[in-house]
């Protein structure tokens, strides 16, 4: 499999997965606010975005294994940046909530924050190391 094929296959999972995650998250919020579903059903439905999340990470894992070593190094660095940002926000906000009357941060935001920071880092690192001649 070429890098281009691997990239196409990766985005064919990542983009629909991300859109579905956001759509389902928003739908669940609306359903919860309007009390449209019984609590047990809502609780079960709330696990669907998490399943999508697992699928997105599985696609990323497969992608990292399929591309060449230099592109893999970029992906791993970008994923590490995303992980660092998410862990820092989660930890810092957790302590702030504990000791100061800060508004609660819904932890489902950590997933979009991860993918956003990972994407920005991947583009930045690729421009810095991969495309400059």
């Amino acid at each position: 499999m070429t890098n281009e094929q691997a990239t196409r296959r990766y985005f064919s999972v990542l983009i629909p997965g991300g859109v579905l995650f956001l759509g389902l998250s928003y739908g669940l919020k609306l359903a919860g606010n309007a009390a449209l579903l019984p609590e047990a059903v809502l609780g079960g439905a709330a696990l669907v975005p998490a399943a999508l999340l697992v699928g997105m990470f599985w696609a990323h894992w497969r992608y990292i294994n399929e591309i060449d070593e230099f592109l893999r190094s970029i992906q791993i660095k970008a994923a590490f940046v995303g992980l660092t940002v998410v862990m820092t926000i989660a930890t810092a906000w957790g302590y702030v909530e504990l000791y100061v009357e800060a508004p609660a941060l819904s932890i489902y935001w950590l997933n979009p924050i991860y993918w956003l920071t990972y994407a920005v880092a991947a583009v930045t690192i690729t421009r810095r190391y991969g495309d400059a001649s």
């Binding site: 060449d68 070593e69 230099f70 592109l71 190391y129 991969g130 495309d131 001649s133």
Partner: protein, 61 residues
Amino acid sequence: MRGERGWSQAALADKLGVSRQSINAIETGRYDPSLPLAFRIAWLFETPIEAIFDGREPAED
């Protein structure tokens, strides 16, 4: 060496089964290839590996 053979970065990348970005990064000293890739490069150019990768940092422009 690539230029002497008239190969573009993309052509060399195809021969080695890697991305063009990888070739660019190796040529500009931004990335050190793994030992298996370094050997593939040496075999392709029919040159001893130490003649291509001598371990020295690339000169600053």
